[in-house]
């Protein structure tokens, strides 16, 4: 795309981007990042840069992706690392590194007044990196020290997919092996970056209080590399497995396909409704604290995920109510009032997400034109009929396509693992 065309898109995006759930994308062009702009009236802005590469793609060099991410920041003369850390601290900004199985990313959130300067630095570092071999040891040391924060939602998904996927590459540790990080050479890092962590394999999202014209100008500088779209997660369904653990947690997942225009709305309502019902029943029975249900939508996996941790002594009751509640929704045993409550709940919560730059960037970075997010959402929710909802819900909640992993005190210890615990929900 020419500079003029990019600017034209950006200018067009500015007013449209203010509309609820709206965003603008640049036409795809080989060698250019996929670009999503969602300007909002916000005191903060977020820049998310995601590459379609993760621990799955490391070809026997564990921790290569994570190390490459650290090297982009610490072994990269474009911006001295100490200067970057000081600038982030001064602005009260945050920079988060995420490393998954099929993607890795950088997410910067900063006050509006500071954002564009920091975004300019970050895009230079990660979309046009120059890896300095002399500084790689420092980056390796940081990678070796990385302490995974417990209970991050990403950890749940990594655990789930590494358990259910037949392809062993999904079991690669996303942070690598601390004892092997030092053995990775600068040539290996450079080769990994040159193949995978290139503008052409990146998705860049700007969300919140920023200027689309400035963002577009910023991105015009970067070009190169090819897109490596990850193939969808292959599962041999249904999956039913028990794994020995210190406490009891059910993980249930249903693959979903967004086949109808109202499916993105229906799926969110389904997740909210199932969570409410599970929580109410678990609390009424005194067997659970805070079940979590959420749709995981990415470019390589689409799963409705349920995580239900059970107190000691409540195992049988919990298993029964879990089955009953899922069946109730699958079979349409839900009142109109309940459905309406959750339709409204989803709409209002989406509005909160739409006004929160970090959350908005996270949701848009998985965008792929399926209508998962966009201005049509409000209408899709408003027009979601009972028949529409249950047609989709019964399709998604079929037992034949279910994944059920039970981490149980009573199961044999097939692998040593502790299921992650609380995520977010606090009451």
């Amino acid at each position: 795309m020419t500079a003029a065309a990019l600017l034209a898109v950006a200018v067009a995006a500015a007013p449209a981007g203010q509309a609820e759930f709206d965003y603008a994308t640049m036409p795809d062009e080989p060698g250019r990042p996929r670009v999503i702009l969602a300007p909002r009236d916000s005191p903060q802005a977020t820049l998310s840069v995601t590459f379609d590469v993760g621990s799955y793609d490391e070809e026997g060099i564990p921790g290569l992706t994570r190390l490459a991410q650290h090297a982009m920041l610490e072994a990269n003369p474009r911006v001295p690392y100490e200067k970057l850390v000081t600038a982030l601290y001064r602005a009260n900004a945050t920079l988060q590194l995420d490393t998954g199985q099929r993607e890795c990313g950088f997410r910067l959130t900063a006050p509006r007044d500071e954002f564009e300067r920091l975004a300019d630095q970050l895009t230079s570092l990660v979309l046009a990196p120059r890896i300095d071999g002399g500084r790689l040891a420092a980056a390796a040391e940081r990678t070796r020290l990385d302490q995974r924060e417990p209970d991050r939602p990403g950890s749940v998904l990594v655990l789930l997919t590494s358990t259910i996927a037949s392809d062993p590459r999904y079991a690669n540790d996303t942070y690598g092996d601390p004892d092997q990080i030092d053995m990775i050479s600068v040539e290996q890092v450079r080769a990994h970056v040159a193949r995978w962590m290139v503008p052409g394999n990146a998705t860049v999202v700007f969300a919140g209080g920023f200027s689309p014209a400035t963002a577009t100008r910023m991105l015009r500088r970067f070009r190169g590399g090819a897109r490596h779209a990850p193939e969808p997660l292959a599962l041999d369904l249904p999956i039913d497995s028990s794994i020995g653990a210190a406490s009891e947690t059910h993980f249930i997942a249903y693959p979903f396909l967004l086949a109808r225009p109202r499916d993105p709305a229906a799926l969110r309502v389904l997740a909210a409704l199932l969570q409410t019902r599970l929580e109410r029943q678990a609390r009424a029975a005194g067997v659970g604290y805070s079940p979590v249900v959420f749709p995981w939508h990415s470019r390589w996996a689409n799963l409705l995920v349920v995580r239900f941790s059970v107190s000691a002594g409540g195992e049988a009751v919990a298993a029964s109510l879990l089955k009953d509640e899922i069946a109730a929704i699958r079979e349409g045993r839900v009142s109109d009032e309940e459905l309406e409550q959750h339709r409204r709940f989803v709409l209002e919560q989406l509005r909160v997400v739409d006004r929160t730059p970090a959350d908005l960037a996270a949701i848009l970075s998985a965008g792929d034109g399926t209508g998962w997010y966009g201005p049509g959402l409000a209408g899709a929710l408003a027009g979601l009929t009972r028949a529409d909802f249950f047609a989709s819900a019964s399709r998604w909640l079929a037992d034949s396509s279910r994944v059920h992993i039970l981490f149980s005190r009573n199961a044999p210890a097939r692998i040593l693992v502790s299921p992650p615990t609380a995520i977010g929900r606090r009451r």
Partner: protein, 422 residues
Amino acid sequence: MTVSLRFVPVVLGAVLLTVSPARAQVHVEQLADGMDLIVAPAQDAPLGSFRYVVRSGSGDDPGGKGGLAHLLEHLLLQDRPGPVADLWAAVRRSGALLNAYTSSDATTFSLDAPSRSLLPLAEQLISVVTNPPLDAVRISTELGVVNAEQEFYSGEGSILALVDAALFPSTPGGILGTAASRSHIELPDLVAHFNTFYATTNTALVFVGDVTPEAARQAVDRAVRLPPALPSERRAPTRWTPAVPVDQRVLAPLTVAAFGYMLDAGDAAACEPLASALGLRLALNLEVREPLVSAVRTRCLRMHGHDLLLAFAYTRSSDASDLPNVLKGKFADLVARPLTPGEIDVIDHRLRAAYSVLRFDPQALADRLAERAARPREPEEPLDPGPVTATRLNPRQLRDAATRSFTGQRRILLYFSPFEGA
């Protein structure tokens, strides 16, 4: 419901609360029944927040019945037919979030909602909390819920709970209590606790959003179901004596060091700038120049009426046994090595940046005001909503505060490691 020890993120340091250039003033008044009302109006804000603060938490649990305040907090919002179920249904319909937290000092009911729903939902919540049908609650099932909470509760909150337990070993059983202490709690205990500590004079209501003080006052008038408390019922705060110094090594799957000091009573206002200064030096030294940790965060905490400044350092290194000493050295460095002009600029700018965002964040501002409202105070002492301006950093005052507070007698260390401890 999560145990949430009171902490004030460092980013909220030295913020302006009474006067805001872009938004209206924070309004503070005491209502006729003794309740404190705090309103931070933000005209046209799409979202709003409400906090119902009871200045009593696990610190007031009776001996042998640890976990009572937390269990009561659960029971007040236990979903059962009637007003509580109506509240939950209205919350869901409005796309709002309702939650509750118990700390050592306070019990807080928290509502975040679209602006148009804030006042009606706050009214419903107030009337539920001030008129609970305690005789209808199901204690045994809620005990099961709390058991699950205790079993699966983890993360930084549990580190803070251990800090609390180490500093105040005389408090009965921590915030959640134990399964044994909870099993001794009966309905009359809950009723007695409610009648004693949920009095209007022990309560503050915080509104942030598109709400005027007048509208908030009217909503409160309509909703409160408690009788006004008598002046004689105003409670003086319980004074707890911390067991400093603390030096505990805990065997754990992760390596985390929590190191810091209990601040001198007169130095609480210096905590946030101190935390910012310390955070900068720790980040540059332990993350950049000589990497020892994957992350280090500084926090100002308030426990049982005492202000603490703690640094939390995380690492996957198997050779981190020197981490407590390194942290100790960096704290001492704030006394020995004055802040440079460059550091002062960074810290000043950071605090102002934090404030500039806070003004637009009803939830964070409500939490901040609720934390201030929850602080124990003498019966005749007026409520102080906090600092009023992003005051300019005074390096001399910070150094003096550090000199007074960073002493061996005030030191706190909890070191979690897979390699040492009990």
